[in-house]
Symmetry: C2
Subunit: 209 residues, 2 copies
């Protein structure tokens, strides 16, 4: 069995899996450093410390490797965020989780750049596009569900608002040079809090960070 192409072979050997992992890690780093389309076969091999030929042994193409690396990274941070958000038991705590997460993604933060690079690459790659859309949809559903549980707002409304806000703030933080978290924080707080005011006259203001 020639296995036609080792497109997504899950690596039967320990060493094989290790090399695969090193290539994926190298890909994530390089996307941030030189941009999605600036990553080359030789670069990846050198960064991962393996022979150039291995790139196309473990992955069908450079594009496939980059897509895989981007999706893995995003899936990772969504999972991490999910854990944090589930630990928050009040609307204030949940808002705090979001805000501190945004603090983590500062200025030209690697993760922000990886996000934007990937989304832009997805513009010309239908397969990556749908895969990415799934991750994002998952993230938004997670947010909407949690906010509904906490009684902040109706699920669909919250989802739409939060989706636009988070997308926007990630871009804003990633691309605007001198923008501090302080600029962006009150905007998000404003988006999320009004719904509570409707429930009852709540004067409680968020403490400044």
């Amino acid at each position: 069995m020639t296995a036609e192409r080792r497109v997504m072979a899950a690596s039967a050997t320990v060493r094989g899996r290790e090399v695969r992992g090193r290539l994926l890690a190298a890909a994530a780093e390089l996307i941030v450093e030189v941009g999605w389309s600036g990553v080359s076969t030789r670069m990846l091999a050198e960064r991962a410390g393996v022979a150039p030929g291995l790139v196309h042994y473990h992955f069908a193409s450079v594009q496939a490797l980059l897509s895989r690396a981007a999706l893995d990274s995003m899936h990772g941070i969504v999972e991490e965020f999910r854990a944090q958000l589930e630990g928050a038991s009040t609307p204030e705590a949940a808002l705090e989780v979001i805000l501190s997460a945004l603090d983590g993604y500062s200025g030209r933060d690697p993760m922000s750049l990886l996000f934007v690079e990937s989304f832009l690459a997805a513009t010309r790659d239908e397969e990556l596009h749908t895969a990415l859309a799934a991750v994002v949809a998952d993230f938004r559903a997670l947010l909407a569900r949690r906010f509904a549980q906490l009684g902040v707002a109706a699920p669909d409304q919250t989802a739409a608002v939060v989706a636009a806000a988070v997308d926007g703030l990630v871009l804003h933080r990633a691309l605007s040079p001198g923008t501090s978290a302080a600029t962006v924080t009150p905007v998000l707080a404003r988006l999320l809090t009004p719904a509570r005011r409707q429930q009852r006259g709540n004067r409680k203001d968020r403490a400044s960070r």
Copy 2:
């Protein structure tokens, strides 16, 4: 005088200016079609209908041509927007201008893609980065000034809010596949209207700076 490099020579001849213009137009198109770093010398020449050598005769480098094209395009739409916004005499009319402008930038709209491509390219090009930042700052100042005139909110507060919102909504529209204007419009409206309620309702909010 060898003129060292014809870096930004303003083309003395009619034909010269025409070729320059065609190259700039081709650049703007190609950035959207194949991505910033996917544009090549030959592509540009073919699209503009001129000999390949002309690209480096009129511009110092391909990068310089792309930067110039992107900045010109952005400057153009900012000017157009400025004219529309100055025609709006009430806060509602101004909001309407913004919302209808966003309607124009739908889904995978060329202009949205050009924006994001350029911002991302600016991440690795300091010169482009500062030039772009200037255009964006100009745009934000324009918005803030106009809203202050219309009595919507204090200038600095409006600037921060609108900046984040517009950045965000452009990305949101550009990258989210099925997003309609209807999803995004109420969010922006919500960001812009509360300030008016503040003036009349006089609910003292803590300034966030």
